[in-house]
């Protein structure tokens, strides 16, 4: 049973069709990537999932049924457009937002210090939000999304404004939450983060689903028979069975000639006396897949 089931949702604003017949499922305990170029309909889809927008058609099932006020308290949300009360102290603002998620004062008093500690914000908790750096505000916003221990976490660009140390902190946290059985929907443009974190993903453009599935499935789907090698000696200009040789950062990307697969190519290279250090069947990066699919779509 999926945690989130988006069924054929469509949503228009005036003449603009933001989302068109979008469907996907998010499974319990996975990190799910919601990808797409700017203006592709990701945020609208998220808002429909959260019941902020009503779809023109289609429906969304969350935790086995439509969204309710009670279920909203089981969802944590980090919106694309960050917002905290700028003239309010960090701890007061976070306490207020936690109250809206149904937490009691006692629960907040018990939980908030640990979160502030984890995100290194304890000494800044009495400052007004406007006095914090962008990265600190981002961390405070993440606390607001997570403090009530939600079952479903929907985060839009969680790494924006974070330095490498804090990026790693958030990545570790997301993995930890996944291990704890939380379902995470992550929307981001940082494909390297998707590759390292996401179990499955959906790619949307112009409001339509272009791609959906497990990360490795999708990579297999776009895998070519190209290979990447590193060698102990320079490569000759021409090699039998190789249609194209592309040098790349000390490696070589080889495109086999027609009718030759990676296995055949390995044998041919060895037979031609190429001294191989590594031989790897090229896996397409998500960046490449993203660009390829979006251009085609």
């Amino acid at each position: 049973m999926s945690t989130i089931h988006v069924k054929n949702i469509s949503k228009s604003f005036g003449d603009t069709q933001a989302v068109k017949d979008v469907s996907f499922e998010v499974n319990p305990g996975e990190i799910f990537g919601l990808l797409g170029p700017n203006g592709s309909g990701k945020t609208t889809s998220i808002r429909v999932i959260l019941d902020i927008y009503q779809p023109d058609s289609g429906s969304v099932e969350i935790l086995d049924g439509p969204m309710t006020d009670e279920k909203l308290n089981r969802v944590g949300y980090l919106p694309e457009e960050r917002g905290l009360y700028q003239d309010v102290e960090v701890n007061r603002c976070l306490s207020y937002l936690a109250t809206l998620k149904g937490m009691s004062k006692a629960q907040i008093d018990k939980t908030l210090p640990a979160w502030l500690e984890r995100f290194d914000l304890t000494e800044h908790q009495k400052k007004k939000n406007k006095e914090l750096s962008k990265g600190m505000q981002q961390k405070a916003q993440l606390i607001a999304a997570l403090i009530h221990d939600p079952e479903i976490i929907i985060i839009d660009e969680p790494f924006s404004a974070l330095d490498p140390v804090n990026t790693q902190l958030v990545k570790d946290l997301l993995r930890e939450l996944r291990s704890a059985g939380k379902t995470i929907v992550m929307s981001t443009h940082q494909m390297n983060q998707v590759e390292t974190l996401c179990d499955r993903l959906v790619l949307i453009d112009y409001g339509k689903v272009l791609l959906e599935g497990g990360l490795s499935e999708i990579q297999d789907q776009f895998r070519t028979n190209q290979v990447i090698i590193t060698t102990a000696s320079p490569l000759p200009e021409k090699l039998e069975g190789v249609a194209k040789i592309e040098p790349m950062n000390g490696n070589f990307r080889l495109s086999p000639a027609e009718g030759i697969n990676a296995q055949d190519l390995l044998g041919l290279l060895v037979n031609q006396g190429v001294r191989l250090n590594t031989f790897e069947v090229a896996t397409p990066s998500l960046d490449e897949i993203f660009i390829q699919v979006v251009k085609k779509g």
């Binding site: 808002r47 902020i52 927008y53 909203l72 919106p79 917002g83 905290l84 009360y85 700028q86 937002l97």
Partner: protein, 391 residues
Amino acid sequence: MILVPLIPILLLGGLNLVNQDSSQTIQEIFVKEAANPLPIGVVDKTKLIQEYPNWVTGGRLIAQESEELARERTAAGQLQGFYLIEEDYLQSGKLRFIKPEVNMITELVQQDQLKTLIEYNLLGADEDVYLRYTNPATFNYEYLNPETADTRDQSEASTYWLPYIVTMFFYMVVLISSSTMLSAIGKDKENKVIEMLLSSVSPLDLFLGKILALGLVSLVQMLVWFGTIVLLPRIGGNMLPFLADFDVSTSLVLSAIPFFIGGFLLYGSLMAGLGALAPNLREANQSTFVLMLPLIFTIMAIAQLIENPNSAFTTFMTLFPFTSPVVMMTRISIGQVPAWQIIACLILLFGTVVVVMRGVANLISSQALLSGQKVKVGQFLKTVFVGHPRK
């Protein structure tokens, strides 16, 4: 903000404690301490002043035989100084005041005494003539309520000024308190917190939560302010004589509660709707003037309302829901208002509140809150009253 009106109460209360003689006015408290107790001489070269009655001079102005003697006495410290009324006074009107040092506060009081003395003598030193001259006519206005035949003496300051004060006060509290709704929703949008809030509560809950919370705060604020108007005459009446004439009854304050609530809900809802639609506070503020026109018109027509409290125009303004919260308080502060008008006013006011709140609740959709658009007040009001699909 709520406690600002307490400042005059604290000041007057403090003065009451410090000043043992409760019969003194504020002017007396300060002037007496600053004033030099020595008398002032008057050298009258025109022989105009025949009498120096004590009720005019308070014993402070004393006739001097000559300028030389007055100078000697001043130099000897027997006089504070002296006025010199020159021979051409009747033509020029000029006087000279000769004294060793200048004290602005005491001089203002002393000049008044000399002026009164001259006026009194110019009018033939006749006390009755002088008193009639200073108060040539006393008009006595009486307000007759056609239903209750209640007559009130309009010559009393409280009767004359109270409706003006109550009208202005109510105009301000309704305006200020309803504007807090606009500001609250505008700030949520400006701080971009609105999406976080909408992921926790529905737009309707957000609207109702704000109107309830701000309504309670505004009600407390109104009661503190109005309570100050009730308390001020009682605390400071002996020191500020004009305040003593005001007798604002507690029942007037209590009767304000339903009309304030109605006024706040009506205008607060409209302001909230405007705040939800407009992209930012600046844009919303530009449109509030149009929404507030009925209240502004009430202030423009204040004299007409107070002078003709039973006219058809005033009755209409009392019943019209967009003016009734303020005008009804004006009417109540003037005198008896027919019971049917109070009941009809409340029914119409709260009926309109229900319609407007429903309209605005439908208008405050997530889409409106998250997008923001150029506000056209006409279109906005049409949507509120005619209807609009939610979300």
